[in-house]
């Protein structure tokens, strides 16, 4: 008898758990940057590029809720002039491979960094911070390079956003 109660209790608990994500309120966000970059830090040569000829970014993500994976897309591309000796010019590309967590302001995951079409950091752990800010604010994508003391960074302005 006791066993049956326990089994029933667990079955109810699991049912309760499963019904939560179905009723969960999802929030979705998107941010665009239209040629309005601030800085790109190159972890492989230590250069901080602030003269960016082109700087585009499109991201969208839905906040993580139980039963729903952290689904996100993020890609930023830019051409850095690199006027400092040994710093460029280079094309940079920051692309989200796999997201592991999202909230209103952050996208956590694994990223690929390409420079001039060559993969410089493969599936490196990093976070995009500040993507929940209003138009005119900036966001920072910081990526940990296992072979460098410097982090990769892709910092730009929020030019347009949509949330629902």
């Amino acid at each position: 008898m006791k066993k049956r109660i326990i089994v029933t209790f667990f079955a109810l608990m699991i049912a309760g758990l499963l019904s939560v994500p179905a009723a969960a309120q999802l929030f979705t966000h998107s941010v665009w940057t239209n040629n309005n970059g601030i800085s790109i830090v190159d972890a492989s040569n230590g250069c901080e590029n602030t003269i960016l000829e082109k700087f585009d970014m499109a991201t969208s993500w839905t906040e993580y809720t139980p039963g729903y994976p952290a689904q996100a897309h993020f890609r930023g591309v830019s051409h850095a002039e690199g006027f400092v000796h040994g710093c460029g010019p280079h094309y940079y590309e920051f692309s989200l491979n796999n997201s592991v967590g999202t909230d209103p302001d952050t996208i956590k995951g694994y990223w690929d960094v390409y420079r001039d079409g060559v993969l410089k950091c493969s599936s490196c752990a990093g976070n995009a911070y500040g993507v929940g800010g209003p138009v005119g604010n900036n966001y920072k994508l910081i990526i940990d390079d296992p072979f460098s003391a410097t982090d990769w960074a892709y910092i730009g302005y929020i030019d347009q956003r949509k949330d629902f």
């Binding site: 179905a22 998107s30 839905t62 890609r75 591309v77 491979n97």
Partner: protein
């Protein structure tokens, strides 16, 4: 000996494959970077078809879509995409008022106009289709055009669920 030869050839073939795809250059020697896209719909809904009731809704109290994706090219550029559309359809005729959500759960491939993957469909907050195969089509058209998401239902058939909206805003970029 034969085995070793085979391994060496395989490794070399793999190395050639990887070096060929890591640097993608056009004939003019320009580094080719794949395009990214994003589309928003702000209340401009076109049509939702409910597979369970066969109801077709064409007017909406609320209709929002956010999607962004990068084009897929070999394993080095995995197909990565996000898509979520949510709408509130008021009652019409014999069809009751419902909310619908079309959520991309996993992406299997992308190109400039299509996102293929598995989708969850929520109807008035209940899961109505779980990890169902489907695709978003006509995503490369200009602002004002319509795109459509068609999702297969294991019971009600191929493309039984539909979510169609107009492109209110779009952003596309390729080579920096």
């Amino acid at each position: 000996m034969k085995k070793r030869m085979f391994i060496v050839i395989s490794v070399l073939a793999l190395a050639v494959l990887l070096s060929a795809t890591a640097i993608i250059r056009s004939k003019a020697g320009i580094v080719f970077i794949l395009s990214s896209h994003s589309i928003w719909t702000n209340s401009q809904g076109r049509k939702i078809v409910d597979a369970q009731t066969t109801c077709q809704y064409t007017s909406f109290t609320k209709f929002d879509t956010i999607t962004s994706w990068s084009e897929y090219y070999t394993t080095l550029f995995p197909a990565i995409a996000q898509f979520r559309g949510a709408a509130l359809a008021p009652a019409s005729g014999l069809c009751a008022a419902e909310t619908y959500e079309f959520v991309l759960m996993e992406t299997t491939s992308t190109n400039k106009k299509t996102i293929e993957g598995t989708w969850n469909i929520y109807k008035s907050n209940g899961l109505a289709c779980s990890l169902c195969t489907g695709a978003a089509h006509d995503m490369n058209d200009p602002v004002g055009s319509a795109y459509r998401v068609e999702v297969d239902d294991p019971v009600y058939g191929i493309g039984a669920w539909q979510y169609q909206g107009y492109i209110t805003q779009r952003k596309d970029f390729a080579n920096p």
